[in-house]
Symmetry: C2
Subunit: 194 residues, 2 copies
DNA sequence: GAGAATGTTGACCGTGCGGTCAAGTCCGGC
DNA sequence: GCCGGACTTGACCGCACGGTCAACATTCTC
């Protein structure tokens, strides 16, 4: 890994990250070797270690970059919306939409959660997302729009629904995204209540 | 791996599984070597391959055994309860309770979900659990107690809440189990509705 | 166009892993 | 008391992996 990157260098780095993301998603992190990554790009092994200090660093960078991108999308989606309940809904929809367009990352993030080397990065990402949700929930509780229950647990519950429905629709589903998103929002807002 | 196991043999097998479960949970599957497992037990490497055809098989057996145990507990908890909504509630509470008592398995299952070798076993386990939930949901929908929405998606939503709150309460939480279970049930039944 | 900085190569190294096996020990049944 | 099958040992094998590096190529800078 070196400091100064020319445009050419930045492109190579992006190629390596894209390639790594794809392979990690397809075969998993441990089963994918650095040799696989560089072979897929048709370059020598040294190239990898010019841009990354280690295989570990590549995954860490992928996690950071993807989280940054997802958050950007959520913030754009929520925009200036004032209604806290609607803010939660827009956040949920943005999340489902982003993963639908970046399927590779779901598997990568799920693996990273199980490895103590990467769990900290992920835990931090999640903490931030949960904190956002908690803020909206508290606003909604003050407004009397949301039941007065532990906002932290509610936030985790919402994230759990989103995570599992994301997984289901990516891995097993052939359902239209909107349908899943609608149910996801309806379930979070109303539960099973008929 | 051999056919006939004497009582002594069965005990060794159980020791290996217990030991493997602990180490896989603590350090992860790939980073834990067969040498680590047998060393923790103070026996030679050959012992492992007498009882298991491969490291892979050990994990597979762990997944099967744990799922069997969890399901048994759920069935006992639900018993003869007739009310479908209450059946769902009892199932949720049984699940949270089981994981609280078998923390090791949460990490193991989460990893297995990310590895294409083990994903099929897990997918099958999940399918069965989801099918159970769907049955209760359909009963509830007929009764008019549950909203008439896609039962499959609802089932996944419930499982998502349970999974994430389980994770939260095991990994981050110092909250009493009952409190988490209460909120989990309340959220699933009523959503965020205030 | 010299020289520095950036980028690239691929053979090579050490290590640790999953798995094997020939040899031996333990123990129940006869 | 010995036979055979259940069980154990640990040195060993082959290999693939993460990472290094000296040499070379390209591109920037003045």
């Amino acid at each position: 890994m070196r400091r100064k990157l020319t445009p050419r260098g930045r492109e190579r780095r992006d190629q390596l990250m894209e390639c790594g993301a794809r392979l990690f998603a397809e075969r998993g992190y441990h089963p994918t070797s650095v040799a696989d990554v560089v072979a897929a790009l048709g370059v020598g092994k040294g190239v990898f270690y010019w841009y990354f200090a280690s295989k570990e660093e590549l995954l860490t960078e992928l996690l950071k970059a993807s989280n940054h991108d997802l958050r950007k999308r959520q913030q754009q989606a929520i925009g200036e919306e004032a209604d806290p309940v609607r803010r939660i809904e827009l956040g949920i929809r943005a999340s489902l939409g982003w993963f639908a367009e970046h399927r590779e990352y779901f598997a990568i993030i799920q693996f990273a959660a199980t490895d103590e080397t990467f769990a900290p990065v992920l835990a931090r990402n999640r903490e931030i997302a949960i904190a956002d949700t908690i803020r909206h929930l508290k606003d909604g509780i003050v407004d009397g729009r949301i039941a007065d229950r532990d906002p932290a647990l509610l936030a985790h519950a919402i994230h759990g629904v989103v995570a599992e429905l994301t997984r289901h629709s990516l891995v097993e589903g052939n359902l239209p995204l909107d349908e899943v998103a609608d149910l996801c929002v309806a379930f979070c807002l109303e539960g099973l209540a008929g």
